[in-house]
């Protein structure tokens, strides 16, 4: 009797729980009686927005948020392309400025702000804000200060960036900077409020604590709500300089860390856009008529690194044989499920000055017989090597298995070492891994920026240990070269050195894939692989 009562009570409790769940499942947002223009409201499934400081933020979703909250001096220009999305044209348009005057020697730039600009909260946006923001980005507190200073030729921001009057900024460069606008268009050069920053300088004096936890939006969207680790809601900023081009009224960025759930949510219509899905999920989405899959070429590439200072990779023949044995097509088709493009050397095919003859050629042709013969002729048989990968990067892990199998065919035994992510990062950037699969995407799509970052001798981000004096000279010269033809020539020579050395073998360039509901359009991919969300609309 008693246990039957208990059982009944338990059953009733569970039924009640299910009923509660069912009751509320259909009424999101209706309780408050808000009238939301559904067609211009979007929910994006992504990661967590961990902080909003443009000079410190590094996680993908947080960068996504800052890139849409803030405006810059200049912005990238977009155009519709085949594939149903918007891509950058490679040109820049004015952001908060209406004009730029450049001196004859190209070293002094005078920027004039658009009249009457304000931040989202209505406070005036003046030259002081621009100067404060630029100096902040070039200060010690910023993680991009080093490379930005070098490429922009601003060695002393304090004296080289000045406000002439309320709407005029003068920037004096040490030398002409071909990549200046590419840097200024980055979200790291977002215009934040100087008043807010100076009122909340914090321990470091750079207001990093304040801007990590607060936003002073000047861009397409204002911050409506930030529910901690759960979500962030952006609303159209009608004070934004190009407000007429902002189609989306409200965007919620939802933290959905599990990618399978992110996919199921977009499939079920709970969210409109799912970012960063795995190739398998993207492939699955492609067969669903309710969904749209956008696959966009990107500069995000995977590479095989062989440290030429460590045996057996100190032997050119070994490196060349391995480069010839890699099953590039197979990696693109079976690991990436077709969501990748050939990458011809250190400068991917879709980046300016790439020496790729077309979009389909890889820098080394897979030729197992030739690779095997190379090793045999050199008497290098029975080699055994350890290939290091980050265990949290499934693409690297899967690629390693295919490479292991391919190298076995030429008599090279590969032991795959799966390392914890942080251990892999630390070891690879210390050049302690002689044979590794790494990846890279440059925040600035500039060939010299990319070559300097990835392969310059002793550069902190040089993971392969590659070192070539001629290459270094070409890259460092190219950074300052203003003539397009000469830049192309220098870049081509540097790229060819990398191919000849075969220490850095580009495996493929991963496509950026987005899955949206079928009625969503206006996806715009920036050159830094972030999305400009203002064009989002429904068909």
């Amino acid at each position: 009797m008693i246990h039957s009562r208990i059982a009944r009570a338990a059953a009733l409790g569970l039924v009640g729980l299910v009923a509660l769940a069912g009751c509320q499942a259909e009424v999101p947002g209706e309780e408050a009686g808000q009238e939301v223009e559904v067609s211009r409201t979007f929910v994006i499934g992504a990661g967590e927005v961990e902080g909003l400081d443009p000079i410190l933020t590094k996680s993908y979703t947080a960068l996504q948020a800052t890139a849409n909250l803030y405006a810059g001096l200049v912005e990238e220009e977009f155009e519709p392309v085949e594939g149903g999305y918007l891509a950058t044209t490679g040109k820049h348009i004015n952001g908060v400025i209406e004009s730029t005057e450049t001196s004859e020697d190209g070293r002094t730039l005078t920027y004039r702000l658009v009249d009457g600009l304000t931040f989202a909260d209505g406070t005036p946006l003046t030259s002081e804000d621009v100067v404060y923001s630029m100096k902040r980005t070039l200060s010690e507190a910023s993680y991009v200060a080093g490379s930005s200073s070098i490429f922009m030729h601003i060695s002393d921001a304090e004296s080289q960036i000045v406000a002439i009057d309320e709407s005029t900024i003068e920037v004096t460069l040490d030398a002409q900077s071909p990549a200046l606008n590419k840097f200024l268009a980055q979200s790291t050069f977002s215009v934040v409020s100087a008043d807010a920053g100076m009122a909340n300088p914090g321990k470091d004096g750079s207001a990093t604590d304040y801007f990590t936890n607060n936003a002073t939006p000047s861009g397409p969207f204002a911050l409506e709500d930030w529910a901690g680790a759960e979500s962030m809601t952006l609303v159209k900023n009608s004070n934004y300089v190009h407000a007429e081009d902002v189609f989306a009224e409200k965007i919620t960025i939802l933290n959905m860390p599990d990618l399978d759930q992110r996919y199921l949510a977009v499939k079920n219509g709970d969210i409109d856009v799912a970012l960063q899905l795995t190739p398998r999920l993207v492939q699955e989405a492609a067969s669903d008529e309710a969904l749209r899959v956008l696959t966009m070429p990107s500069g995000f590439f995977y590479f095989l690194g062989m440290n030429p200072k460590v045996a057996p990779f100190d032997n050119d023949v070994v490196r060349q044989a391995i480069a010839k044995a890699i099953p590039y097509e197979q990696l693109m088709e079976e690991v990436m499920l077709g969501q990748a493009s050939p990458a011809y050397g250190i400068v991917p095919n879709n980046m300016e000055t790439s020496i790729a003859p077309d979009d389909k050629t890889t820098q080394y042709e897979t030729n197992t017989a030739a690779a095997k013969k190379l090793l045999e002729d050199a008497g290098l048989e029975g080699l055994a090597v350890e290939l290091s990968v980050s265990s949290s990067d499934q693409i690297s892990v899967d690629s390693a298995v295919y490479i292991q199998s391919a190298l076995a065919e030429i008599g090279v035994t590969v032991n795959i070492s799966k390392m914890a992510e942080v251990d892999f990062i630390t070891s690879s950037y210390s050049q302690k891994l002689p044979f590794l699969i790494g990846n890279w995407v440059s925040s600035v799509q500039d060939p010299f920026f990319q070559m300097r970052a990835v392969l310059l001798t002793d550069r902190a981000t040089n993971q392969t240990g590659f070192s070539n004096a001629k290459f270094d000279e070409l890259v460092l010269t190219g950074i300052d070269e203003g003539d397009d033809a000469e830049r192309e020539r220098l870049s081509a020579l540097a790229q060819q050195i990398v191919i000849d050395e075969a220490a850095f073998v580009n495996l493929f360039a991963m496509d950026t894939s987005v899955v949206t509901r079928a009625d969503v359009s206006g996806i715009a991919l920036r050159s830094d692989q972030l999305f400009q969300l203002r064009y989002l609309t429904r068909e």
Binding site: P28, Q34, E230, P257, N268, D270, A420, S443
Partner: protein, 340 residues
Amino acid sequence: MARYLFQRIGSSAVTIAIMAILVFFASRVLPGDPALVRAGSNATPELIAQVRTQFGLDLPLHQQFLQYLYGLIQGDFGTSIRTGKSVTTELMHRLPATLELSLVGFLIASLIGISMGIIAATNPNRWPDTLVRALTAVGGSIPSFWLALLAIFFLVYNLGVFPSPIGRLPLGMSPPPRVTGFYTLDGLLAGEVSVTLAALGQLALPALILGVLGSISVTRITRASTIEALASGHARAARGFNLKSPSIFLQEGLRNALPTVITAMGLVAGYLIAGNIIIEKIFSWPGIGQYLATAISQSDLDVVQGFVIIVGIGYVTINLIVDLLYSVADPRIELGGSKS
């Protein structure tokens, strides 16, 4: 009682202090350089050195330890090297989400576990007992992530019984003003019943999964200890006096089994606080488990330390409550003394 409590709180503090010391040194031997992770892929050696200085990672280990202890005494778990935010603030912000989920999961685990244990114990070797044993055997072999994925696929996307696993509230609904951090309670306190109902709805499936998994050990222990109590001399004597079965069950069975059951429930409560990492990830639940998962992959030492200490405090508190409940469940048990 007061003396016992004082002693227990003292010994708990010592336990937590030892744990804090151990976790500090254990986290220092983990591979990886947090400064490099913080500085990012564009980092120069100068920037990495600057980060080391900023976060005190360049100091000798003993100085780092003293700084860490000094912060702990003030309730400061340090700064997340990944986000630059205060770990204490972040943990306190996320803790209610984990506690709310754990508490409801615990209630479900207790309800299911005790009910099924009693049903099995009062029907030994008959079909209800066989069924319960079969269910616990199957349930005990299912990993939590697998059960969660199956449940979401069938109960959310196929049958639509539960709302989508998109966090603590449905889309479009704002959290209630924060008082306790429990959305169910804060909704009521703010007079927003719809928020409470919605929060309960979002809680239902993850809590049910945690509850089902947590109920396995409660069921087994309730069954075993009740069967043992009902087979005792007291119970046999009671039957000899022709007392009714319900009376024997309550007086001799359940009452004598209760201390063991409470122990099992204490263990389940501890597991639910610390073991939610996978469930929180799958259900987009912004608790401390999700915070830890990201921190570990980024070598965010202060977060890992803070998590371990918070969970340790939770365990110690649960143990204390369990000990106190022993004397409530069985007055023969004297706290801090011998059994009368």
